[in-house]
């Protein structure tokens, strides 16, 4: 899958309820107060619905940076 960066940014901003100015393309878990363990589940859920995908239970904790999320989405057909 080709990752639509704009769609990714919108999903992150909405899930973490942050202003656009705090978004960075290299964010990872723990960079923001909002991206804590709970925020992580909210973010992954938002990514799932934005990109129409569903991740396995075991891989959800590993998607702990936008880079990891991009890599996982790219690997999808």
């Amino acid at each position: 899958m080709i990752v639509d960066e704009e769609r990714l940014r919108r999903a992150v901003v909405a899930a973490l309820r942050i202003g656009n100015e705090r978004y960075r393309a290299d964010l990872k878990l723990g960079d923001l107060d909002e991206w804590d363990s709970l925020g992580h589940l909210e973010l992954v859920a938002e990514i799932e619905s934005a990109f129409g995908v569903s991740f396995d239970l075991e891989e959800i904790p590993k998607l702990d940076s936008l880079e990891a999320i991009r890599a996982r989405l790219r690997a999808l057909p």
Partner: protein, 548 residues
Amino acid sequence: MSSRELIVLGDTTLGGFARELEAQARAAGLDWSVRDAGFDSWERELFEPASATRTAEAGALGFVLSPRILEGVGAETMPGRLHAMLEVLKTLSPPRTVLCGNLFADPRVVLPLTSTGEGAHRAGALNDILAEFSAKHPWLYVLDHASLALRAGVAALNEPRYEALGALYFSPGGTRLLATLWYRALRALTKTPAKVLVVDLDNVLWKGIVGEDGADGLQMGASGAGWFYRRFQLALRELRRSGVLLAVCSKNNPAEAQAVLCEHPDCLLRPTDFAALEIGWEPKSQGLRRLAARLGLGLDSFVFIDDSAFEREEVRSALPEVAVLEFPQDPSGLVPMLEASTAFDRLRITKEDTLRAASYAAEAEREGLRGSAASPEEFYRSLQLTATLQRARPADFERLHQLIHKTNQFNLTSERLSAEAFRERLGAAHFEIYGMRVADRFGDSGLVGLALVDRGAGTHWRVENFLLSCRVIGRTVEHAFVAWLAERARAAGAQSLTFAFVATARNQVAREFLDRSGLTPSADGSGWGVELADLSGLASHYVRVMAE
């Protein structure tokens, strides 16, 4: 209004719920902050006297219990644990407003053909406990999680992967749906509901246009294109029963439109269902102004529904205080338009709410009598007024608090006591709170007056606030209430009685009452009073007063 706090407690992780609820409330301009008391905190935080929840500054508490408490070994103990929780809530000081979601069972069972329905039974038993408690203790409101689960589907609320990872029953998507229900509850705690819903007729109550299609061409029957309009009329009837006044504002030939409302066999709403009708060819904003004048209500308590974008825009620009609903593209959106609107949200329907529509109809008859009476005295006498005065009881709490917040015109101070502050006064030894019920030959107006009396040191009684619903203004019952209070104060040994008064932009009516009341302004300007040695200036001659 200052910021208010809601602390949420439950059996699962509610951090995401707290964030989402606060975000939704803030986005709608409500100044609520929402804090999660922590994972599985509902009993620990409540039963531990020194917990952060128990020691927090007065705020509201919210309980979100998941279907998981109905499962497994602990399930049988739940009724007892719920009772224990409710008992603790009664003892909290300062008193709290409590919101509690009711229960639903997770229906995804192992054996769908032979399910015992045990979970549903358990949920039902707990919900009965909650409903019964809420009926007796009006500071606890039940939020209908069970209906949300039916509407949205449990699969939309819970996602097993997230429950496994985060100990959260409500998935991020489900949390959003749940938070929307709760946001509406916070809004209803903060804002008074709209009082009047004004609807257009053609292509709103029925499909078709009276002037073009004729009465026979209109569709509002139980099948076909008319079905959505019929459902819409049923929904309007339900709103009417909840205390919303219905009114019509339509551009039509009055005789033709009236004939449809009176006689069309499929029309469920009849002219008597509407508190007032404006049918003619004037601009709609004029019609709305007339309706407001006839009903004696401010346009800021009006909601307007019209299928014409032109009319909606005309009303929006001429009367920005009126809430104009977005009209759906398709008639299937008519009922959802009402469901989505927060304008009529209330957390509880009081007896007075259910009487409101009939009471406005009685008022029209009363005005007819006033017009035909030879003098005001004859009019008052012919009404056969009775006023019943009594100490406020817990069952009256909701209505009396509603009066404090909704009464603008006859309100001596317009101080809007919070629910918590009002409950404190109800329990305070030196406060006496009286409610007044009014009835006359046209009907029972219900609980329509309130006096908050601070007995203070005993020789001087101070009425902290005195107010009367606008629907009974002009029947002299306010004079009877004052005279009765003065008698009571004197009988208790007091020497003087003072009513606090604060002029506001809207309480001119209250000021005019004071001028005619027989009370005199106090020297320091803080109120109006009377020396109880001489009560001759106070009596009201037209009202039979009963005290309970």
